[in-house]
């Protein structure tokens, strides 16, 4: 089924009263997901945002609770705030990334209410990639540039209209509010088929990576790998699946808030004990953790790799650490016989 962009825009605009609408817009700094007031602000022709849309469920800086001290007493209040949200224009890699984050924020014992309540009140409208960048390698992970996994509604751009595919119940409820859905023409059907067959040109073979990494904890590979890394957090911050955070307090006199902020495994302080001992006291250990977490531990714990091939870390790295090469290197690394 399809809907004209004009009608779609009107339908989206009509949602403003009930939802905050997040969509890709173009600013001085490139493409960013931001709140929009009207569909006309939305950037139509874009590769992907510079920073991943995870921040709408897992903000870089968020209040968990606040407290007030009076003498020896204290009162504590939750700061959980949730809004109905429509995320429009999410690319398949990022939609899949959110599915992966879901597994983190709800584990076998706990559910993170801050993430989950936002997630539950959000509808994700995925849009198939019109163009594929040289750094895109999502096909390596079985994600396609037109993959609908993780989206509630999935659109394919047909020029003046969108092909609409309902993926989930949430998506169905939203689609019910679109009028004027019509059948695709044969040409459009062919276009949809073509878009769906698209693959990224860049691919890495990850078929053996997890089992290889099982045996690589003590590999000398990590020694050479980490040399040029400067240990900043830009790869973690620009990653749609990185989720590590820090909890700290912001205090003003007798009041304060407990906040959580993005953190990253590349920072030495991340694992530093109060005693001064640091189990990951070298960049080598931290890079190993990054790789192992994404391509080994996460697979063992959640059954999937924690990388979606969006290529953001490749583009953002100041020293051109290319995760594709890192995976490749691990695949090829010789094993030390112990």
């Amino acid at each position: 089924m399809k809907i004209s962009k004009e009608k779609f825009g009107q339908a989206l605009d009509a949602l403003i009263a009930e939802y905050q609408i997040i969509a890709p817009v173009s600013d001085a700094n490139g493409i960013a997901f931001k709140g929009v007031k009207s569909f006309s602000e939305v950037k139509q022709d874009y590769l992907n945002s510079k920073l991943p849309p995870k921040a709408f469920f897992f903000p870089q800086h968020e209040k968990l609770m606040s407290y007030k001290k009076e003498g020896k007493d204290v009162t504590v209040k939750s700061e959980l705030k949730v809004e109905n949200t429509v995320l429009f224009g999410i690319r398949p890699c990022d939609a899949k990334g959110m599915q992966l984050l879901d597994m983190v924020f709800k584990n076998d014992q706990y559910t993170d209410p801050y993430y989950y309540e936002r997630r539950e009140k959000a509808v994700i409208i995925g849009v198939a990639c019109q163009k594929i960048a040289p750094t895109c390698f999502c096909s390596s992970f079985g994600i396609s540039p037109a993959g609908s996994e993780g989206s509630d509604l999935f659109l394919i751009d047909l020029g003046d209209s969108y092909d609409v595919e309902v993926i989930t119940e949430k998506g169905k409820a939203l689609a019910a509010r679109f009028e004027a859905l019509s059948e695709l023409t044969a040409d459009e059907q062919a276009l949809v088929e073509k878009v769906k067959r698209a693959e990224t040109t860049s691919k890495v073979d990850v078929s053996t990576t997890t089992s290889k990494l099982d045996k690589m904890f003590n590999s000398p590979y990590w020694d050479s790998l980490q040399e040029k890394c400067i240990g900043c957090n830009v790869c973690s911050f620009s990653c749609p699946t990185c989720h590590c955070f820090d909890i700290s307090e912001e205090v003003r006199k007798n009041e304060g808030t407990r906040v959580r902020t993005w953190d990253g495994c590349m920072a030495p302080l991340f694992t530093l004990h109060g005693s001064g001992h640091n189990p990951r006291d070298h960049k080598k250990a931290r890079w190993r953790q990054r790789m192992m977490h994404k391509f080994n531990y996460f697979v063992h714990n959640n059954g999937s790799m924690s990388c979606v091939g969006c290529g953001r870390c490749i583009k953002s790295c100041p020293v051109n650490m290319d995760i594709r090469q890192v995976i490749d290197g691990a695949n090829k690394a010789e094993l030390v016989v112990e």
């Binding site: 700094n29 960048a133 040029k228 902020t261 302080l269 020293v319």
Partner: protein
């Protein structure tokens, strides 16, 4: 250019084969077009990966102290200035360091190219011309058009300290108004400047790539990581971002060698250099000091004169 590359490789081969150094820190071809990446060569067999061209944008001095053993480093002008400051501050042992000096015409600002042609698919550099194939179109540039902003005002393209020089020296005119950009900003009104930096700071995501890419940010514990006192939260409030950037810039005042590594490392395109350049200008004008240009002397803020200017900052009373 090719002669320099073969000379770099040959020098590296000799140094490694003779056991004079354990590692050569240089550049190799990166995985993206117009992007070189730092490269650590440990054996004479690997030297052929070393390259040298206008894409070698990282400041390798940042790696020297962190790399164990005796090392050789391929250094352009700004790298060498950073090495000088590091030596002045006793962060390096000169005897453990072999500096392979190369003169630098400047590096390419790929961001500028990317903004015009989209994601860069392919690129080649021949005779000072850069042909780029991008997702949004193809374009050919003269090198001067896409030279990084830092390099346009560079006064030290030749290494100021080196054990060996490869290639020819580069002459630059020394009479350029080197701080035109700072002066232009100074001439703006207070509110214009405020607005400009507010906008810049609101972009910062505090990934600390600028700090980590900086050859002179080597504090064991950076003030942003200190938890007692907590100078900063992990938050991304623009005022706090400015506190971070201003704190960092003040710590670099009189030390910064204006290599531009911070700005190039910034994903978000924050104009960090605008702050550093202001300090560089002030230090130059007030104390007649340029950091890292000679091994003698100390960073400007480690010394003083009884006649230092003070009128412009003291209260009127």
């Amino acid at each position: 250019m090719n002669k320099i590359i073969s000379d770099i490789r040959e020098t590296a081969r000799q140094l490694l084969a003779d056991g004079k150094v354990d590692v050569v820190i240089g550049y190799e071809k990166g995985s993206l077009p117009l992007k070189a990446t730092p490269c650590f060569v440990h054996s004479a067999q690997e030297v052929d990966s070393l390259i040298w061209d206008e894409t070698c944008e990282n400041n390798l001095a940042a790696f020297v102290a962190k790399t164990p053993g005796k090392k050789a480093i391929v250094a352009k002008g700004c790298d060498s200035r950073a090495l000088v400051v590091l030596l002045q501050e006793n962060q390096l042992v000169r005897d453990d360091l072999y500096i392979i000096g190369v003169s630098c015409h400047g590096v390419i600002d790929q961001r500028k190219i990317g903004a015009e042609v989209g994601e860069i698919l392919e690129a080649s550099i021949t005779d000072g011309k850069i042909s780029v194939k991008g997702m949004e179109g193809d374009k050919e540039y003269l090198f001067a058009e896409v030279k990084d902003a830092t390099c346009q005002t560079c006064r030290y393209p030749n290494p100021v300290i080196e054990d060996l020089h490869l290639g020819e020296l580069i002459q630059v005119s020394q009479d350029v108004a080197a701080f035109a950009d700072v002066a232009a900003m100074e001439n703006k009104s207070e509110s214009e400047r405020q607005e400009y930096f507010k906008e810049q700071m609101s972009k910062c995501i505090r990934c600390y790539a600028c700090r980590n890419a900086c050859p002179l940010c080597y504090c064991q514990e950076c003030f942003v990581d200190c938890n007692s006192p907590r100078w900063l939260t992990g938050g991304v409030d623009r005022a706090e971002n400015l506190l971070f950037q201003a704190g960092r810039v003040l710590h670099l005042a009189g030390r910064c060698v204006d290599c531009g590594a911070c700005s190039r490392a910034c994903l978000q395109g924050v104009d960090i250099r605008a702050l550093n350049r202001k300090m560089t200008k002030d230090v130059y004008e007030m104390y007649n000091h340029e950091s890292g240009i000679s091994e003698e002397g100390k960073p400007a803020l480690n010394v003083y004169s009884a006649n230092d200017p003070e009128e412009q900052f003291l209260v009127k009373e």
